[in-house]
Amino acid sequence: MNQEVVIEAKKLSLTFETNDGPVHALKDVDLTINKGDFVSFIGPSGCGKTTFLRVMADLEQPTGGEISVNGMTPEEARLKRAYGYVFQAAGLYPWRTIGGNIRLPLEIMGYSKAEQAMRVDEVLELVHLDGFAKKFPWQLSGGMQQRASIARALSFDADLMLMDEPFGALDEIVRDHLNEQLLELWAATNKTICFVTHSIPEAVYLSSKIVVMSPRPGRVTDVIESTLPRERPLDIRESQEFLDIAHRVREGLRAGHGDD
């Protein structure tokens, strides 16, 4: 298969020097992510999922190995605004309306006024928040705020989305709903998505590729290529195929825990 490589990590390591000695957040991580992949990162707390995402985003500098983003260094990719990053907290500015918040990266990147307005409308529709542009963040529920923050990351149409537990703080029902919408969005835009989660069903439901990690030092213990079709109704979660994949993820997590 002749696929475009978006992320390529080779023997990637990152050690934080702390007062209590070095913390090996990532150790010898090898991973390739192709264009159009939906990759979930799953693993126990502290295994380096956030750190890995932050390295891709050039928010953290690796201490060993290599990583490329779109064939460039993470810094070059960041300067080219190659990715949209969704943090765990929505982080909307309380003094800007929803529309104003989504417009912010566009203003920073120098889009014309007309283009800004057009794109704001477009992404608000993508996350089903049309009509909320003039509302302030505190007038929206937590889930809506999280969708607005996804819209903001989508607004400048980067091909790569890095999402760090964007639905972590939401209840199951809202989460299901947002997962469906995220898949819809992925299908519509064909973006490459890196998605951190703690939930096995969420990882299996969403992903085309599941990366299982283990802590201390943070390593990749398993990479599972999903055999599920791209088209996924919610009830696919009851199918045998789904349960098999979930089982394998669970096994991977358990194995990682074993050598602790």
């Binding site: 932050r54 985003a57 050039d58 928010l59 960041r78 300067l79 605004r81 990715y83 949209g84 990053y85 943090f87 907290a89 982080g91 500015y93 309380p94 003094w95 800007r96 309306t97 912010l104 990266p105 203003e107 920073i108 990147m109 302030f136 505190w138």
Partner: protein, 288 residues
């Protein structure tokens, strides 16, 4: 209505009652002295009447101050040297100029401290040290030095106001400009935003809720500065001058009315800033 104003009213009434009692106690000696010299017996009611109406009482009664305030504001043309409005305006003008200068200086210093490592390490200790020097000690020096380079009048007084008012602004704004958390700063980085953009889009709006409380303290400090500045200059105009003249001639009623005027002025200034704060926060969607 009672729910809202009842407690306040009760406290105010209690203060007035206490005040009147204290006026009797503190002015009694003088009343007895006068009675002795005139060789008359002083009954209690006469004592009270006398202690509440002396010309130079140790503690003037509230109604005497009220009368003085009425006579020196409403009853005088505001251009008259005997008008308290006139003197208030003199003090207010240097307060406002000094406050404006102090605010600008405070914000500039805070911006420097937040953006420049060297300034961060070096400026703050000096800022704090500056406030440990008693203003009464430094005010005459500022005035003398500025006079020596040919600056006199309003500006030296305003400089002293500035000296007192920049401090709360620096402290508040440093905190405010640093209010954005690591995530918000990282987010700016992912958009490859410049320092300039990060300042205007993130740091500055984040600091607004910190700015206004600092401004309230700053404006009150600026008023104190303006009054203090009028003392060593032997100024003949301004609330400070009224205080000084009053104490030369033992005009306690005049002192108290100038004091009350200053207090009212401070309250009004703080209230104006409070209103602007409310408006600004509502406009920014941060007041609910």
């Amino acid at each position: 209505m009672w729910q809202k104003f009842g407690p306040v009213l009760t406290v105010v009434l209690a203060i007035f009652a206490l005040w009147y009692v204290m006026a009797v106690v503190m002015n009694a000696n003088w009343a007895y002295d006068k009675a002795k010299r005139a060789d008359v017996e002083l009954g209690f009611s006469e004592l009270v009447v006398d202690t509440w109406s002396q010309k130079k009482p140790r503690l003037p009664a509230p109604h005497q101050i009220a009368e003085e305030l009425w006579n020196t504001t409403a009853m005088k043309s505001i251009t008259s040297k005997r008008s308290l409005v006139f003197h208030s305006w003199i003090t207010l003008s240097s307060t406002l100029l000094g406050f404006a200068m102090g605010t600008v200086l405070g914000i500039l210093l805070a911006v420097g401290i937040v953006h420049n490592k060297a300034m961060n390490l070096s400026v703050m200790p000096w800022v704090i040290a500056s406030q440990t020097i008693p203003i009464l000690a430094i005010a005459p020096m500022i005035i003398v030095v500025l006079n020596a380079v040919g600056i006199s009048g309003l500006v030296p007084k305003a400089v002293i106001s500035m000296y007192l008012s920049f401090f709360p602004v620096v402290v508040g704004m440093v905190k405010g400009l640093r209010a954005p958390d690591a995530m918000q700063m990282d987010q700016m980085r992912t958009w490859n935003a410049s320092k300039w953009t990060t300042f205007w889009a993130l740091r500055w709006p984040s600091s607004v809720p910190y700015l206004f409380p600092s401004l309230k303290i700053g404006v009150a400090a600026a008023l104190v500065g303006a009054i203090v500045a009028e003392l060593p200059t032997g100024a003949v105009r301004g609330l400070g001058a009224r205080l000084l003249a009053g104490s030369y001639y033992g005009q306690t009623i005049q002192i108290w009315s100038a004091l009350l005027m200053a207090a009212a002025l401070a309250a009004a200034l703080v209230m104006v800033i409070g209103q602007i704060e409310k408006y600004a926060l509502r406009k920014m969607g941060m007041a609910r």
